[in-house]
């Protein structure tokens, strides 16, 4: 099940690069992550049928969409993939209502009753329906574009940096909609991004791309805590995902979250006790100590055991630790790693300041 991509493509001209991408996207959100120019958009365009790769095969749920050698080359309109572009691409001559209806006109079968209203409500675009795209803000346009793609009843949603053109406030406004989409709509999503925060928040599967190749692919928590994948993902953005459950809200503005290795106190969040979360802990916000620290302002001190160490070419080192059942990454200096005698098997205390976990680092877990 899911999407299976195995393609090769060349771009001519000076500085032209070749793409060689092979990965599977199971149901859920698969994030294609990588720097600009690593070939992410090319892959999505090939999946959508807007570009024919030189070689290879693309299949969705067992149906071959494209096979360069002998098989079919389905036209984009026959693939039934909803594509949300970076620049919304709403039709300027149509009202928002007509833009949304456009997708539904060509969808096979009958619309489920109330589907239009449900999508409009989920995306919060009801009051805008009679406006033209020219009169909408960037965030509103992007939400409308998501709605239009959804209403075409796609077998899969393709999203190419749908938040890249937006400022932080708009991103924070749309991210919860995308989470709801992932958890409620049940449509698999191929999500292109070069922003780690979005990937950490949404992805169930991560495909890290580097210079036209797949550097690492796998379940999100596994890839994001992988030492070898870190350079491809960007050391500055390195950080592991911890699954947790909201335990309690405290009167002093903190929320207590239970993770497999203990309890975390995080800035107050709006989530009922029992809500399952995924928390991104940035590697550079983690302090390591060989003895249990005392008299520290940091509230979160978790016991862990070093699993792996990756010494960089500069002054840095990345440490992978097992905390409870989950993996955590810590980015420290080589000097500290040597001084603390960090090696696999070493017991360590991981110190995380509550305020180092931003609200955008906390997302809802799937299912």
């Amino acid at each position: 099940m899911g999407l299976s991509v195995d393609i090769r493509h060349d771009f001519g001209g000076p500085g032209g690069f070749s793409l060689d991408a092979r990965f599977d996207a199971p149901p859920g959100v698969t994030a294609l992550f990588g720097r600009s120019g690593s070939g992410k958009t090319t892959v999505v365009n090939a999946v959508a049928g807007l570009l024919a790769p030189r070689e290879g095969r693309i299949a969705l749920d067992g149906e071959v969409l494209f096979d360069a050698a002998c098989g079919p080359r389905l036209a984009p309109h026959r693939r039934r993939l909803g594509y949300v572009f970076q620049e919304a691409r709403l039709f300027p001559h149509l009202s928002l209502r007509a833009n949304l209806a456009f997708g539904a006109w060509f969808a096979p079968g009958r619309a489920a009753p109330g589907e239009f209203d449900r999508v409009v409500e989920m995306l919060g675009i009801g009051p805008l329906l009679d406006r033209r795209p020219g009169a909408l803000s960037g965030g509103e346009k992007q939400r409308a574009a998501i709605g239009r793609a959804l209403l075409s009843r796609p077998r899969m949603l393709l999203m190419d940096e749908p938040l890249a053109a937006l400022d932080e406030a708009r991103k924070a406004e749309i991210l919860p909609y995308l989470e709801r989409l992932r958890d409620a709509a049940g449509v698999p999503i191929l999500y292109v991004s070069h922003a780690m925060a979005e990937v950490a928040r949404l992805a169930t599967t991560v495909v890290a791309m580097e210079a036209g190749r797949v550097a690492r692919a796998g379940p999100a928590a596994e890839v994001l805590s992988d030492l070898e994948a870190a350079p491809a993902l960007g050391l500055r953005d390195a950080g592991a995902l911890l699954p947790g459950v909201v335990a309690a809200h405290h009167a002093d503005g903190l929320t207590e979250v239970e993770v497999s290795g203990g309890r975390l106190l995080l800035p107050r969040m709006r989530a009922a006790p029992g809500t399952r979360l995924r928390i991104r802990i940035a590697a550079q916000e983690v302090i390591l100590s060989r003895t249990r620290p005392e008299g520290l302002s940091a509230l979160n001190i978790l016991a862990g055991e070093v699993v792996g160490l990756r010494v960089g070419e500069g002054g840095g080192a990345l440490v992978q630790l097992r905390v409870g059942e989950d993996l955590l990454l810590a980015r420290i200096t080589r000097r500290s790693a040597a001084a603390l005698e960090i090696a696999p098997g070493a017991a360590c205390w991981c110190v995380v300041k509550s305020v180092a976990v931003a609200r955008t680092d906390v997302g809802r877990a799937t299912g």
């Binding site: 691409r89 039709f91 001559h93």
Partner: protein
């Protein structure tokens, strides 16, 4: 002849009505192929594209008399196309108003193609790609996205072509002559009046009518284009 007021002059009314009929038919018939050729030139890379471009634009630079003579050779009753049309459909073009419409259409064609092609080149192909990913087949993409977006250009091209057809003289008079009531359009009537002694006053009236019709066409085209542009707004 002029004592009863020139407005009532049947010859004048005849020339005006004929000109309007010829220009209207030539515009209506030339518009769809003009859209097709503009699409072809703007979007498709094919061998012979430069040649097609040249042929389309030829009437713009060729002396109209030469164009008219070529039409006569091709579409005359003994011409290869004209003979076939008469045999198959019983359609005669030479020295008929239909021939005048053909001549006007040929002369107006390059102007229409140019205006429409500009509009097509201004359409963002990304919007068409988006429509395709939403499940729209090619015809629907054209009808629901491309055509509405190029509508201002198509209208501008149509009005421009209409005005050009109204003023067509050289190719028309060569191909279909200047037969009162059949092929004597406004410009041909003005020319005929100026050839006869004492015809200047009547010619002046026809010139005034020409100015009025052309001016009205331009104003209408401007208004239509800006209305459509406003409706579409900044996307």
């Amino acid at each position: 002849m002029q004592d009863g007021g020139v407005w009532l002059d049947p010859a004048t009314r005849e020339a005006l009505a004929l000109s309007l009929k010829v220009a209207l038919w030539s515009t209506l018939c030339a518009l769809p192929p003009a859209v097709g050729v503009a699409l072809l030139l703007a979007r498709v890379r094919f061998p012979g594209r430069a040649l097609l471009n040249g042929v389309v634009h030829l009437p713009l630079v060729l002396p109209p008399v030469a164009t008219g003579y070529l039409l006569l050779m091709l579409f005359g009753r003994r011409g290869p196309v004209g003979g076939w049309l008469e045999e198959t459909f019983g359609l005669v073009l030479a020295f008929r108003w239909t021939g005048a419409a053909l001549a006007a259409a040929v002369m107006a064609f390059p102007l229409m193609v140019r205006a429409i092609r500009l509009a097509i080149e201004a359409v963002d192909p990304k919007l068409e790609a988006a429509a395709a990913t939403l499940g729209a087949p090619r015809w629907a993409v054209f009808g629901l996205v491309t055509l509405p977006l190029i509508l201002p250009g198509v209208l501008a091209g149509a009005v421009l072509g209409f005005a050009r057809a109204m003023g067509e003289f050289g190719a028309t008079i060569t191909f279909v002559s200047s037969i009162p009531g059949e092929t004597r359009t406004l410009p041909a009537a003005i020319y005929a009046l100026l050839q006869s002694p004492g015809g200047e006053d009547a010619a002046l009236v026809l010139v005034a009518i020409s100015v009025a019709v052309s001016m009205a066409a331009l104003l209408v085209s401007e208004a239509l284009a800006s209305r459509v542009a406003r409706r579409i707004g900044a996307g």
